[in-house]
Symmetry: C2
Subunit: 209 residues, 2 copies
Amino acid sequence: MESSSARSGGSTRREATRQKLYEAAVTLIAEQGFSATTVDEIAERAGVAKGTVYYNFASKSVLFEELLRHGVGLLTASLKDAAEGTARAGGGKVDALDAMIRAGLVFIDRYPAFTQLYVAELWRTNRAWQSTLMVVRQEAVAVVEGVLREGVAAGEFSDEIDVQLTAAALVGMVLVAALDWKSFQPERSLDDVHAALSRLLQGRVSGRV
Amino acid sequence: MESSSARSGGSTRREATRQKLYEAAVTLIAEQGFSATTVDEIAERAGVAKGTVYYNFASKSVLFEELLRHGVGLLTASLKDAAEGTARAGGGKVDALDAMIRAGLVFIDRYPAFTQLYVAELWRTNRAWQSTLMVVRQEAVAVVEGVLREGVAAGEFSDEIDVQLTAAALVGMVLVAALDWKSFQPERSLDDVHAALSRLLQGRVSGRV
DNA sequence: TGATTTGAACTGACTGGTCAGTGCAAAAAT
DNA sequence: ATTTTTGCACTGACCAGTCAGTTCAAATCA
């Protein structure tokens, strides 16, 4: 039953090459798009033979799909952590929202290429991994929707807000602001960006001071 | 001097086929991405021979670049109109912002495919049309930034806001909310969506009623 | 009027190159 | 001893871009 040596999730060597392939694929695809990126390029950047790609993944599309799952999984976990952290600290739902904005920024700061790639694929239709993407998107947005709904139930947010649409808008706000940050003013600090977005969220834009 | 027949901008037939090619290309590229879309497909959907594509455009990339210019030109004009409209009506900068949100929604409602395609390409690096995209993006975002700056100067907005980042965040808010609307709840009315975003903008999310 | 010419616009078969995926024997790692 | 990786040659499909030839409406001619 138990196979070789100490393990913590899958045969270690295999997992390591899969990881290298993910990393190579994510940057290349973010830069060039899925179709413009060749398997040879991915293999080369990962420092691996082409045959190894096919030993580890059934096809180019499958590699990409698993990459998507992997990445969004990290994001979802991070958002949940953020929301639960504020809850444990006795904060309200506004704090949870704020913490999630920060978690989003941290994620994008760490994995800008993945974010870019995700955005580029998210609303496409007629692609093989379309359904994977929907599922995985819903998992992430659902975390935000959950906090909003709880906030409404607790009377902390107006019950007139449209949960689904507001969640999407919040995600968009963070996403686009962060991509802009990384693309056009990468020298700014995360705290700085976070402060600007918090201000916007709390409606402290209009109104002097 | 005057060449054939009545004309008003360019040989009419040519302009008509170019328009057909734009329309064919925009939906196909939005669905599949640039590299996955073949020139044969574009020609076929436009009801035109492949050679005609190359008679009208130097290359596939050039067709795409001109398509980008064309589309963002429409958006920029529409945003400007919206802002100026409220100014003439004696409204403040909050009204201008609100009008621009609506203009953005109207645009996305009308050209969802173009919007999708634009978002997918916007933050890519290492692509031929990268510079075109930057220029054209800046034209659009500048309109929003302009209104924010005027609002700050007029004391209508806090002078602590980060104009560039806030503009990006606002654009992102509208963009993602609208794409979500079109993708997942297309039956909702524009007014409905607009109301939800206005509420978010004016900070009427937290705080009951 | 009808016949002829002109040239911009369009056509579609063809070419040269690219790339996903295969096959397999030998080497390395565990 | 078994799993994993390598290296490399090969195939067949696909595709951007080309080009010699066709169409047709307007212009010119007779």
